[in-house]
Amino acid sequence: MIALNSENRAAIAARHPEIFRPSWRRRSMIVTGLGAAVGVFVFGIVQLDIPLNRLSDGIFMLGGFLRLMLPPDPGSWALALTCLHALGETLSIAFLGTLGGALLAFPASLLAARNVVANRIIHFLARRSLDTVRGVDTLIWALIWVGVVGLGPFAGILALVCSDFGTFGKLFSEAIEAADKKPVEGIQAAGGNHLHGVRFGLLPQVIPILLSQVLYYFESNTRSATIIGIVGAGGIGLQLAEQIRVLEWQKVSFLILLILVAVSAIDWMSSRLRFAIIGRRAIA
């Protein structure tokens, strides 16, 4: 019924040329965008001198490693205990690092929030210093702290404190800036000063959000804490790097399994707590 003969079709095409003339502008924009993305990708592969021919050999070798990894096995009870102890260290590092970072970041984030400190210079300086701290990876901080307090988990804790200071400082200040300003106005209208406004109008709103962000990062920090051992800052990473270096694949897979279990457990716990705090699934 709606089938058109060629005459009708031509008539429709003539009436709506913009639909039937392929829109070269739009299409060329898409093609250019995709071309640029692919171009940079190819340039990257060439520039990085990535040996694509090694890909298949490497994957074959990986398959071999994978076969050797099964089943996961610590080899001896003694090593299993050492691993568990290292895991405990990792969890401690993550916990204290997150806590310390959050405690230090809180005052800094107040300085960096526009609605708390109106002074533009302080605001700018606070922001840039937080960005600088954040620009240095946890692993680099670990490297530095190993130089200061020596090998061991303590260096790892300090490293996480530093990198979380930057991350939380930024997140917190953004959350504070996003807070509803009506309660603050209410308190100031009742005769409170600026500090009263912050204390009673702002903080009660944002504290649950900040807590939920801290809990959310606890999980990702557990993952960071598993690897700082690679540079000697304690935790399970040291064991892992060691076992990989000596090609003890079953022990490697045992350690990876431990990490998976620990991170999942922390993830589960932190999302339960977050749910309890703010009553719904939080997006950090």
Partner: protein, 295 residues
């Protein structure tokens, strides 16, 4: 001041304040319990993590000293010469930084493509088979949970030293992280367009292409950019395990106590990361403002 509030009889006042006190008592008890738990956990973790305040205070001077060591000798009379001595390795370091960015880019793009493909299989509102959803989810979670540097450690053995293991490690980790985030976005989309396309006779691919993708694309792009930011940081330390980029030079400088080199490289890394963050943040705000003007 005029008193518009009448004074309460003592008995009534006592009754009301008692009621208030008992109402907040429960809350306060919970707070105390929570604090006690927290302190317990801190002590346990402190013992486990070898925290030694004494050692810390004794050694803390080393921290500023470390940074003081990193400051190069610098005088305004010979500023240019000092600067060029400090950044003596600039050509090599910029090349390595470029490599780092490329590693992050190639890894993020490949990972994002993988995550894009897998996220639809991990979304219960698009796939009927519980088994497929479950398996895809677990696979994505595995890739996300294992830190990228652990993948890199293993890949270095399989693929040899160089950027290739770094790229692959970032790609796999990104695939897991983005795939999971993407799947969460897909599970929250409006189901009406999906039904509309299905009711017109669209196949699964067509339903995904026309019912789901237009709804999620801008969100996906924003998440991918965020991941790129994160991956630049990750790529900067890939060199620690021999997987390419600037990390190699950094760890060498740290190990050999070339303090001014460390500060020069760190400054370069931080500056690069700040620039990248600035650009991607701009683009993301633009994307959010755009909210996917069709596809």
């Amino acid at each position: 001041m005029r008193a518009a509030i009448p004074e309460l009889p003592q008995a009534r006042l006592r009754e009301l304040t008692d009621h208030y006190a008992s109402a907040v008592a429960e809350k306060r008890r919970q707070l105390w319990l929570g604090s006690a738990l927290l302190v317990g956990a801190v002590l346990a973790a402190g013992w486990m993590g070898d925290v030694d305040p004494w050692k810390f205070s004794e050694n803390f001077w080393r921290f500023p000293a470390y940074f003081a060591n990193m400051v190069p000798k610098f005088s305004f009379t010979s500023a240019w010469a000092d600067l060029s001595e400090w950044f003596w390795g600039l050509p090599r370091w910029t090349r390595l930084l470029g490599d780092t960015l490329l590693i992050a880019y190639v890894g993020t793009l490949s990972g994002a493509i993988g995550g894009f493909v897998l996220c639809f299989l991990a979304s219960a509102n698009l796939v009927r088979s519980r088994t497929i959803v479950f398996l895809t989810r677990r696979a994505l979670e595995f890739c996300r949970t294992v830190p990228e540097i652990v993948f890199a450690l293993i890949f270095v053995l399989a693929f040899g030293l160089g950027p290739l293991p770094g790229v692959l490690a970032l790609a796999i980790h990104t695939m897991g992280a983005l795939g999971k985030q993407f799947a969460e976005v897909v599970e929250n989309i409006d189901s009406k367009p999906i039904e509309g396309v299905a009711a017109s006779g669209g196949s699964w691919l067509q339903i995904v292409r026309f019912g789901a993708v237009p709804q999620v694309l801008s969100n996906f792009a924003s998440y991918a950019l965020l991941r790129f930011e994160y991956n630049v940081r990750g790529a900067a330390v890939m060199g620690f395990v021999g997987a390419g980029g600037i990390g190699q030079d950094l760890i060498e400088a740290v190990r050999k106590f070339y303090f001014t080199d460390v500060s020069a490289i760190l400054l370069l890394i931080v500056a690069t990361i700040m620039i990248i963050d600035f650009i991607t943040e701009r683009v993301r705000h633009h994307l959010i403002g755009l909210q996917g003007a069709g596809t």
